[in-house]
Amino acid sequence: MKYTKTQLEAVKEFLYKIADDQLILGHRDSEWTGLGPVLEEDIAFSSIAQDKIGQSLHIYEILHALGEKDPDTIAFTRNANEFKCCHLVEYPIGEYDFSLIRNFFFCHAEHIRFNMLAESSLDPLAKLAKKYRGEIKYHVMHADTWVKQLGRANEESHKRMQDTIDNSFNLALGIFEESPFTSELNSMNIFEGEKTLQNKWIEAILPVLEKAKLVLPDPADWKPAYGGRTGTHTEYLQPMLEEMGEVFRLDPKAEW
């Protein structure tokens, strides 16, 4: 397909933001390898990490086909200000409750996004979306299971879940920062827009939270953590990138 200059820019920005979210959260989730509170959780976070990083790779491959650098160079040599990920995925893993709620918020949004993209006019992305949604279903199922169990288990677990939701909800809203190219993406039938996604997301998470006896903050207090999509990040991203790309940068020409 032939794109105008603005259209191409719109497509690239869109692909970068999706893949960067997956790569960064994939890396964060992998930090649970060897540290999970129980063995099954160690394996679950490691497997989810492997899925997300693998998924980001194939999106970076589409970008490469559109003229960007090769996937490894894209992943391991950019600085924080060149990343388009949202703040939610950048934060350190913290306590297990934060990592779990983060995955709960993010994976639901990701699942709905790829469901929408399965019908996208951007054919290579639509093909991936059809594949990814089946994999992400397991990430959603994992998060839902634990949110429901911990929300209802005892007073302490319920309080920790609710406190984490209260403290991280504005970060989660940052996922849906509107793109400057919304109308281009919309008119090209690539993506309906972040507002639609956010509304569907609220509809999807509310029933789960209700079963877990958990609530979302009052809409009057919603202050989305925007900035990530335009390259403004938290203090946590750059150190993470330095660690993530350390081995690659030792010898970028090495064969793996």
């Binding site: 394996i43 679950a44 490691s46 497997s47 492997q50 899925d51 093909k127 059809k130 594949k131 089946g134």
Partner: protein, 166 residues
Amino acid sequence: MEIKTVQTKNDILKALDDVKDPEIPTISIVDLGIVTGIEVSEDNFVSVRLTPTFSGCPALKIMESMVKERIEKLDVAGYEVITNFDTQWNTNMITEKGREALKKHGLAPPEHFSELVQIEMLEKVKCPHCGSRNTLLKSPFGPTLCRSLHYCSDCLNAFEQFKPVS
């Protein structure tokens, strides 16, 4: 092979039946359902298309090179092996022979699904050791991306399932 013969699709399919999943050596990549296209041109050039089981599957590159090695042994003018997502793999693409092969490896085969995979499908998986459905899902994630962990309340064995993916 001494005599110059043009390979047929079937010859290639038979040859690829020798290529096994490196993580589950009882099942061939054909029975796993990841061979999505075979073309042989008039001048004996072979083109094979594969599709990944999981996007993050580390065995993918290995399987690709195993396919190349196997085709090299045939009498062909040239070949290409292309992996893409044009056809998206799902566990319904595993053949009946493949399901038997999974059992031989001690894995419960994935249940057939229509339309979408339902979470309930993971809850009462048939134990590959004793056949009971009195089983529990321990975790939807196992030692490889394609497996989930279960426990049989009748024969008291832990087991793994090749989990259904749509």
